[in-house]
């Protein structure tokens, strides 16, 4: 399909800089999630790719060609708006066929494609209704159908699942994923939900304050964030300042631990170490393993029970959060020993 590339793209609104500089390289047929807090510039980025907004600097390339002179209408992109932007004066049918009607396609083809897409999004029953007579999820599906029917080569979705309940959200996620795989459309998907981004995307671009913070596969972002901000945003809880005493040893306030050596980090460097809460093993003091690496002893300070899983806060010089399956429950106040494999410790330069 189409490969999308942003080259040092910047966007200013008057004196306000919404996007500082973003480089993105989205492969053909890839599903990329733009992830970031509210106001970081996700929608603005999509709007520049769609051509609704012209970059102040830099260029947008489709398959290697600069599209700055290509009108919105000619870019053959699709966009599902954050607030749907359905045409309130048209029925579901009319909304969905709008893109084909304005292209002047033969009536027969339009009605065939309409039936096909209504089937896919399961809106057959609602075809004669107006947007005001639909629920949020139904409107969403109309917005998606209206876009997909035009067979765009780049599909953009601005938080398409934001207004749905949990169950419908799951359904729509699978629906979007299947469809995207089946049609192989290059898709850019905006969300500020990291779980959604990780579940759906081939790669995730994290944006903070109009800057690309990190761009990579979900597990890379989750396990190997390149900054504490990204780690924080991806839901990491245990980030502690430390000092490298050797390439593979870090001194922390809960003792010196073995870590994986990482290129670019040298002994003497001030760093952060990140311990994923599910990567830590927790033992009651009496059952502590002998001779294991990175043993940290402490005391349970708090417990949060989530049903299938349970989270403990262990006081050990720092407060360390540990998550495990709730096959057993330890009590607050109980002395425990933590153990973490060196390859589960990630180091971030400070």
């Amino acid at each position: 399909m189409t490969e999308v590339r942003l080259n040092a793209v910047q966007k200013r609104f008057g004196a306000f800089t919404a996007i500082e500089s973003i480089d993105l390289d989205i492969k053909s047929g890839e599903l990329v999630a733009l992830l970031g807090p509210s106001g970081c510039g996700k929608t603005t980025t999509l709007r520049m790719i769609a051509g609704l907004e012209a970059p102040t600097k830099g260029e947008v390339l489709f398959d290697g060609h600069d599209v700055s002179d290509v009108a919105v209408q000619k870019r053959n992109v699709g966009m599902v708006f954050q607030r749907y932007a359905l045409f309130p004066h048209m029925t579901v049918e009319k909304n969905v066929t709008f893109g084909l009607d304005v292209r002047g396609l033969p009536k027969k083809e339009i009605s065939e494609r309409l039936e096909e897409i209504l089937e896919v999004v399961q809106l057959n029953k609602f075809r004669k209704r107006f947007p005001a007579q639909l629920s949020g999820g139904q409107m969403q599906r109309v917005a998606i159908a209206r876009t997909l029917i035009t067979k765009p080569s780049v599909l953009m979705m601005d938080e398409p699942l934001a207004n749905l309940d949990t169950k419908l959200r799951g359904e729509m996620r699978r629906f979007i994923r299947d469809l995207q795989k089946r049609l192989g459309i290059t898709t850019i998907f905006v969300t500020h939900d990291q779980v959604e981004a990780m579940e759906l995307a081939d790669r995730v671009a994290v944006i903070f304050n109009g800057k690309l913070a990190q761009f990579g596969a979900p597990q890379e972002l989750y396990q190997q964030p390149n900054s504490t901000e990204v780690a924080d945003f991806m839901g990491a809880s245990n980030i502690f300042s430390a000092k490298l005493v050797a390439a593979d040893r870090a001194e922390t306030s809960f003792g010196t631990i073995d870590i994986m050596s990482q290129p670019g980090l040298k002994p003497g460097n001030d760093v952060y170490v990140m311990l994923r809460s599910e990567g830590i093993d927790l033992y009651p003091e009496s059952e502590a393993p002998q001779g294991a690496q990175n043993l940290i002893s402490g005391k349970i300070k708090a417990r949060e029970f989530f049903g299938a899983s349970v989270q403990y806060v262990v006081g050990a010089g720092e407060d360390i959060t540990v998550a495990e399956q709730s096959r057993r429950l330890l009590d607050v106040g109980q002395p425990v020993v933590l153990s973490v494999q060196p390859d589960r410790v990630w180091t971030i330069a400070r």
């Binding site: 699709g78 309130p88 893109g99 304005v102 005001a132």
Partner: protein, 298 residues
């Protein structure tokens, strides 16, 4: 049973009693004047020593003359043409105002200026600018488009009425713009953007997406302007082409006649204006209702 019926009745009476001040004002302001006009036009004016009520002789005399129909045509022609021109310009302006362009801030104030200037000043301006020997004709001759200001085409005091239309348009464009601009702000630009992404060109976006959504603003503002233009007096009186005049001017001439019994003829004229305007406005609203139902508003 009887008791509850009784108390329901009491309640309703109390409700009417509470409403009565408002109803009284409505009746006096709107109903009273209209009833008086209708009654007089049907020959009831004992204070002039005329009482042939009910008689349709005044309507008969009025509607039987060719000049009435010429006047009606002129009235509707000025009102319609100026409303349509003002509407087209108003939509264009409102479309411009929802976009960003240099000098927009200043412009947003300037375009409202005619709203604050009285009609009579507008009419005076038209005389100064558009007359033979007016500013524009002098400029045209100065720049050599015409050899002498008096060769400037006649704009004022013709039955084509471009002077009248110019004044109406000048005064009403800001009003229509304001009404439509407000509706556009409420709608936002996203549906237009969505349409563009879906491949619609400018014209398709305007006709299929923007216009249907701004119809409430279009209808309400043109309704008011049209109704005003049908009943307006000063502009056609000063800038019009003389006999046949527009209906309000005709009515005024009757009222002003030395023969005061002609006032009844004037009342018949006024009632005719109200009838015509009423029929047109009601049909307009009925058509709009049908359109609204078609786009799913109930």
């Amino acid at each position: 049973m009887a008791r509850s019926h009784d108390s329901a009745l009491k309640e309703r009476m109390w409700l009417w009693l509470q409403l009565s001040p408002v109803l009284l004002i409505l009746a006096v302001l709107f109903g009273g004047a209209l009833v008086l006009a209708v009654v007089q036009s049907l020959g009831f004016a004992p204070w002039f020593g005329v009482n042939t009520f009910p008689s349709f002789q005044y309507f008969g005399a009025l509607w039987g003359s060719v000049s009435f129909w010429q006047s009606l045509w002129l009235t509707l022609y000025y009102a319609t043409v100026s409303t349509v021109i003002a509407l087209v310009m108003g939509i264009a302006l409102a479309l411009a105002l929802v976009r960003t362009f240099p000098g927009k801030h200043l412009y947003k104030y300037v375009y409202k200026l005619p709203l604050m200037i009285p009609y009579t000043v507008g009419i005076a301006l038209a005389v100064i600018m558009l007359g033979n020997g007016g500013m524009i004709s002098r400029l045209a001759s100065f720049f050599g488009f015409i050899s002498d200001p008096s060769h400037f085409p006649q704009i004022l005091k013709t039955h084509a009425g471009w002077g009248i239309i110019a004044v109406y348009v000048w005064k009403q464009v800001p009003f229509i713009t304001l009404a439509i601009y407000a509706v556009m702000l409420g709608i936002g630009r996203e549906t237009e953007e969505a349409a563009a992404i879906l491949g619609a060109n400018r014209w398709q976006i305007l006709s299929q997406v923007t216009l249907p959504q701004i119809m409430p603003g279009v209808v309400s503002s043109t309704l008011i302007c049209f109704a005003f233009n049908v009943g307006a007096f000063e502009a056609p009186f000063i800038l019009g082409g003389g006999f046949p005049d527009t209906l309000p001017v005709v009515a005024w001439r009757y009222f002003n006649d030395a023969d005061y019994t002609l006032q009844l003829q004037g009342m018949a004229t006024v009632v005719s204006i109200a009838l015509v305007a009423g029929i047109i406005l009601f049909s307009y609203l009925a058509i709009y209702r049908r359109f609204e139902r078609k786009i799913g508003r109930n």
